[in-house]
Symmetry: C2
Subunit: 327 residues, 2 copies
């Protein structure tokens, strides 16, 4: 089986590739070829060095998508995107990369099938940013997508394209609406959502972290491990069970910031909790107040997607996967 990961240099892309390296049968069939693409050349896991191709390629440039698809991968994980803040700051770039790049990929698959039959599975990373407030207390699977960012708009449009191209038999698509990923590894970043991870990751490493919102802020989370699990399950599953509604809100954990902190205390002690410094930031608080806090995600659960059910699990996963099992 030929696997392609587009956006393989990103956080989830890297973890997905690492998982495929650690568990070569994670997709249920052997990997005969691996193509990793991103705007910067992604690194290749040593175990796959003989069967891998790493490409620095931009889907949204002329011919980029065609050249990728010409190698006819069986499974395409499409995780490439510019993030919300950048898509909002740069209108043209956001639409070019997040919308036109994805459409170019879909159209390249369609063009490829004109030569000889070609029907890859395409797993698209979408986002809960397709939803815009006001929300019901729990967002059900049939709630409408009224994004309040250009990023969310681009994701929602790609979801529609994915469903239509799938309906027309051009490929076998699944859209995966990711929760906020927590605990994000690496350095604290300036994303408005960064603090959800910072207040756990930094104290676990003995460092201070800033909490800019109240403890009663609720949000929707899944671990990086769950995110990788969503993509693997989407690649393996029987898609005939999904029907034409191909975009799925992934399961997650609805939790308060206060619950994050309590879990940190249980696992790492009150000294770790003491490293969280409260610095209320009304700008961040206002942004976060516009985000969804809870989903039903029934369809995805029924289709076998799973996530964490409490923050203790999320913290333990971080300790196992990022800290070698020790704090």
């Amino acid at each position: 089986m030929h696997i392609m990961v587009i956006g393989a240099a990103g956080m989830i892309g890297r973890k997905l590739v690492e998982k495929l390296a650690a568990e070569p049968d994670a997709l249920g069939r052997g990997i005969a070829r691996l193509t990793l693409a991103d705007v910067v050349e992604p690194s290749v896991p040593p175990v796959y060095s003989s069967i891998s191709t790493a490409l620095a390629i931009d889907l949204s440039t002329e011919g980029g998508a065609e050249s990728l698809v010409s190698s006819r991968p069986d499974v395409i994980f499409h995780l490439a995107a510019i993030v919300s803040g950048e898509a909002e700051a740069d209108f043209d770039k956001g639409y070019r990369v997040n919308l036109d790049g994805t459409r170019a990929l879909f159209d390249a698959i369609r063009a490829e099938s004109r030569n000889e039959p070609y029907f890859p599975r395409v797993i698209f990373a979408s986002s809960i940013a397709v939803f815009g407030q006001p929300f019901p207390e729990k967002i059900a699977d049939e709630f409408f997508t009224t994004p309040l960012t250009s990023y969310g708009t681009q994701k929602a449009i790609c979801e529609l394209l994915l469903a239509d191209y799938t309906r027309r038999g051009l490929f076998d698509g699944i859209g995966i609406r990711l929760p906020t990923i927590c605990i994000r590894p690496g350095q604290p970043n300036k994303a408005a959502s960064g603090f959800f991870s910072n207040i756990l990751r930094e104290p676990l490493a003995g460092k201070e972290a800033i909490l800019p919102v109240e403890e009663n802020v609720r949000h929707w989370f899944a671990s990086p491990r769950s995110a990788v699990g969503f993509f693997l399950h989407a690649a393996r599953m029987d898609t005939s069970l999904i029907g034409p509604r191909r975009n799925l809100t992934m399961p997650g954990l609805s939790a308060l910031v206060g619950e994050e902190i309590e879990a940190l205390g249980r696992i790492a002690g009150q000294k770790a909790v003491g490293l969280i410094r409260r610095e209320p930031d009304p700008v961040i608080a206002a942004i976060v107040a516009g985000w969804p806090t809870n989903f039903d995600a029934r369809r995805a659960r029924e289709l076998g997607f799973t996530a964490e059910s409490n923050f203790d699990e999320i913290i333990r996963i971080h300790i196992e996967d990022e800290l070698g099992g020790r704090i």
Copy 2:
């Protein structure tokens, strides 16, 4: 005020222009200039001949949108599209005209505002084809858009673009999801939905019509007069009341085919009803079974959009507007 109608040669476009000719103050402000565009040159109402421009132009061809928008209309009614059957039969043409053409229009407006401030109102003709079954008994305003046709997909994507461009202050957009228009004037056509109009229009003219489905088929209707009213109201209304959810399911009448026939009997007598010939067509019945049958449409009603409440009204409107008041 400079008014532009794109798609002015279509059924609703023509009726909208006729209305503006019959009631020059229908928009609450005088019309100083009228630009009518379509892929074929639209006809100009005599009363506006001195202030009108008629253009044969295709939005989706290079430079088409820019040349239209360069005249800086204050209100743009965008009704141009290829229909559902054609968009399904011709994938490329559907996406090119219905999606790329609309996006080109939106981008041309954005480009025009770079020279000097430009903030037109844009009223976009969408469709209940943005919804796909299974449906709840009554589709509420927050139900998700999961189209089962490429036409519906293209309309749903343009709705998302319209909302995002509006949110970013690029224009003042409103999306109008039209019910099935009944009674469509003119000749019987081959659209799967044609019979809903045929079984009234033809008998009213003393001619036979074919009914391919059972009388217990339910559907969602508004008259051509209501459709024109939706567009006029959208052009006049205070858009600050709408908020960011700019696409509105228009009010309509949920009725059975049997109720159409009963109304025909009340207004035109049993002889007219006798002109309806039952010829069950399983293909048409299956297509129709996939269509929405009823909506709540609360938001649009609260915002002042109105439609008919029974089929007697719909038939009387046809008699007044198409048959000179007499049958």
